[in-house]
């Protein structure tokens, strides 16, 4: 009996070219979203603990390290949003009557929703 066909893929295949690297960065966005969620829950804990605890945490958030962390997290979050919106019409094809709704319209609607959600959140915390 012939030996099983050996797998040819290397363990670093995702470093080979940009489409692969982008795929891997997209998949790893979830790691940064989860790490950010830990920071978010810490903030909620501090808000529950009172104004002094919150002020202390705001001081921590002002450190250059945490600003840099949030810049990286934001970049991955936006990569996630953009790639997720691109995938929405593929995962959930919408029809209006017999006519399929064009993918660009569905993607565009997601961006409008993202903008609306962002404005609402900012209004809730300040305005």
């Amino acid at each position: 009996m012939a030996a099983p066909y050996p797998r040819q893929r290397s363990n670093t295949w995702y470093l080979a070219n940009w489409p692969y690297r982008l795929f891997m960065l997209r998949e790893l966005s979830a790691v940064f979203l989860a790490l950010y969620t830990v920071l978010l829950l810490l903030l909620v804990t501090k808000v529950h603990a009172g104004p002094a605890a919150f002020a202390g945490y705001v001081h921590t958030l002002q450190s250059p390290l945490l600003i840099a962390v949030h810049v990286v997290v934001m970049a991955f979050a936006l990569l996630h949003s953009v790639t997720w919106f691109q995938a929405v019409p593929k995962g959930l094809p919408i029809r209006r009557g017999e006519e399929p709704v064009p993918p660009q319209l569905v993607i565009g609607a997601n961006y409008v929703l993202l903008l609306a959600v962002t404005v609402i959140v900012v209004v809730i915390v300040r305005v």
């Binding site: 979830a30 915390v125 300040r126």
Partner: protein
């Protein structure tokens, strides 16, 4: 063939992916940039985290983000060549997401 738990975890992955795609940039903007700029008012945040709907949203965001992470990270490790350890990786990822969600529940109830 044994029944698969894949549809359940895929649903959580999908729901988490949609929610984070729409909400995370706003949350990061507020807590990562506007809060350190001292632009966010404590009273507003306090009202938000003690409001029943606010508590539910905080828990839902954390729960779905953690399970979105678990599913995606599990599959990415397998793609990176760890197929042999597929089962323990899945268990560790989902248990971590469950532990994170339990913590989120405690935090949200405050």
């Amino acid at each position: 063939m044994r029944r698969s738990s894949e549809p359940l975890f895929w649903s959580l992955f999908s729901a988490g992916g949609m929610l984070t795609a729409l909400l995370m940039p706003a949350l990061i903007l507020v807590t990562g940039f506007l809060a350190p700029a001292e632009w966010v008012e404590y009273e507003r945040l306090e009202a938000l985290v003690t409001n029943p709907l606010g508590r539910l949203v905080i828990f839902a965001v954390a729960f779905l983000t953690f399970f979105h992470w678990a599913h995606r990270f599990r599959h990415v490790l397998v793609e990176m060549g760890l197929r042999r350890f597929g089962l323990p990786i899945a268990v560790v990822c989902y248990v971590a997401a469950l532990a994170g969600s339990a913590w989120a529940g405690v935090v949200a109830l405050g």
